[in-house]
C-alpha cells in the first residue's frame, strides 16, 4: 500500500460557499464541489476551527449544522456583524463576503484524494 501523504489545501479547491445575514448573525453555507469530499469538510471544518479562522470578526459562538443530502455544512457565526445590517459600519455590512473569507482556510487532506 502506498505511503499516505498529508498535504495542505485551501478550502476553495474542494468547496464553494454562500453567506448572508440575519441581524448580527452571519450564516455561511459550505458545499463540497464533489460529494466524495463532503467527509473531509465534516472532519476538517469544525465549528472551533471556523471560530478561530474568524478571530477578531466573530465575537460570539459558532454553530455548525450538517446537510449530508447536499454535501454541505451550514455555519452560524454569532455576533459577527458589528451590530448587524443597518447598524454596522463594516465594508461588508451584510456578511456577503464571509463565504470567500471561509474558503481561504487551509485544511489537511490525504495526498491521494487531492
Amino acid at each position: 500500500m502506498a505511503k499516505r501523504e498529508l498535504i495542505k489545501r485551501r478550502l476553495i479547491e474542494i468547496a464553494h460557499a454562500r453567506s448572508g445575514d440575519k441581524g448580527d448573525l452571519v450564516n455561511i453555507g459550505l458545499i463540497a464541489r464533489k460529494p466524495e469530499d463532503y467527509p473531509i469538510l465534516v472532519r476538517e471544518v469544525t465549528a472551533d476551527r471556523v471560530k478561530q479562522h474568524f478571530a477578531g470578526v466573530c465575537q460570539g459562538k459558532v454553530e455548525r449544522f450538517e446537510l449530508p443530502n447536499l454535501g454541505a455544512l451550514n455555519f452560524l457565526l454569532h455576533e459577527a456583524l458589528d451590530g448587524g445590517g443597518t447598524m454596522a459600519l463594516k465594508a461588508d455590512p451584510q456578511g456577503k463576503t464571509y463565504s470567500t473569507a471561509l474558503l481561504r482556510m487551509e485544511i489537511v487532506v490525504d495526498g491521494d484524494a487531492a
Binding site: 449544522f65 448587524g84 443597518t86
Partner: protein, 456 residues
Amino acid sequence: MIRIANGQGFWGDSLEAPVDQIRRGPIDYLTLDYLAEVTMSILQKQRARDPQAGYARDFVDLIARVLPDLKDRRIRVIANAGGINPMGCRDAVLERAARQDLPLKVATVTGDDITDRLDQFLKRGIELKNMDTGEPLSAIRAQVERANVYFGAFPVAEALGLGAEIVITGRVADAALTLAPMIHEFGWKETDWDKLSAGIVAGHAIECGAQVTGGNCQVDWETIPDLADIGYPIVEAEPDGTFSVTKHSGTGGRVTVASVKEQLLYEIGDPTQYITPDCVADFTTVHLDQAGENRVRFSGIAGRPATNYYKVSISYTAGYKAMGSLVYTWPDAYRKARAADQILRQRLTRLGLRFDEIRTAFLGANGCHEIPAAEPTPEIEPHLPEVVLRVGVRSENRAAVDRFTREIAPLVLNGPPGVSGLGLGRPRVEEIVAFWPALIPKSEVRPEVAIWPSAS
C-alpha cells in the same frame, strides 16, 4: 403543472427582469419581492411627506408597462409591493389600468401592520421580546417606527381564489409568495406539511431572483454564459410537491445543482427547522437532480407543523452614522492609510467628539474579509498598488457625526501623501433604522383579504 416565476429579488433589483419573465417564455404566475427589512422605514419616510405614498412605485410603473401582456398571456402577479400602504398601491394600479381601458381585478392582503397596536399588546403582557437578545420591547418603544407581522401563503391563496389577477400584499414571508399559487391551484390543505414545505423550499430557491440561476455563483463563474442577459428563475410545480427550478430558454446564466445548493443555503439557520408562518421545512430532506440543461429537480421534501407564532419585524431609529473614504497609492499605500486613520482618530479625540463606534476598513488590503488569514504578508504589503481608507462612525448625537464628515477631506492636504478623495465629496449623515425581531401569538392578528372591483 404550473409555472411560477420570480422577477424581483429585492427592491432595486433589475427593472427588466420581470418584463423578460413575462415576455420571453411561458409562465402562469409572476412573484415579485420588494420588501427588505429596511424598505418599510424608507416607505414610512415617503408617506410622512406624501400620505398617498408608502408603497413600491416601481411596481405600479411595471404593471402599467406590461398589463396588455399579462392580459394576453393570462399571467397573474403576486407582489409584496404594498409596503405600508397596500390600498394606495392598489388604487394606483387600478388607475393606470383604467387609463388603458383594461378591466383588472386587484386584491390586497393587509392586517400585517400592528404599529398602532403595540401599546395595547404591551399592556396585555405580550412583551414582543427581541428574539436574539431577549430584551423587552419597552427598551426601545419610544424609537419604534413600524411593526409588521409576516403573514403566510394562505391569505394570498384566498385572494387568488377570489379571482384576483394581481395580489398586492403588505408584509408576507418571501417564500409564501411562491407557495400561495400552489395552494390555490393544487388545493393543498393547512395540514399538508410536506407539500407546504416543498412550496416553501421552492420559494426560498427563487426569492432572491438570479442568485439561483448563476448570479453570485462561485462554481466556474467565468464560464457562466451571458450574465448580461441572465434569466431569472422559474419553478415548475407539480401537485405532489415535487418541482423543478429552471429559466426561460435563450436567456443567460446557468441553473445547476451547484447554483441551487448555494441559494438553498443562503440566509438559513438550523436547516432542519426553517420556520415559516405556514410550516417548518426541513432542508435536510431536499433531494436534487440535474434533470436537464438549466433544470434542477427537487423531491423528497418533508416538513412539520407550523408554530403558533408569527414573526414580527419592528423597525426603530438608532442614532446616526456616516462613512468617509480616501484612496492611498503606492508606495507604502497600506502604511499611509493606517497612518491617516490614526491621525483622523487623534483629531476626533482632540475635538472632544464621542462616538458609540468608530470603525476602519482598509479596502484593497483586507477591507471585507478582515480576518488574520486575509492580512497582506510583510513581503507584499509595501507593494500594494493602492488601499482605500474607509472610516465610519456611529452616534446618538447627530452633530458629532456631522462634524466627523468635515474631517475627511482635509487629510488630502494635511496628512500622508499620494492620496485622492475619490471625487466623492463630503460624506452624508444617515439616520440609522435598526430591526427588532419578535414573535406574536397568531391569535392576536388576522390577515384581511379584499378584492376590487368587489364581487359582482
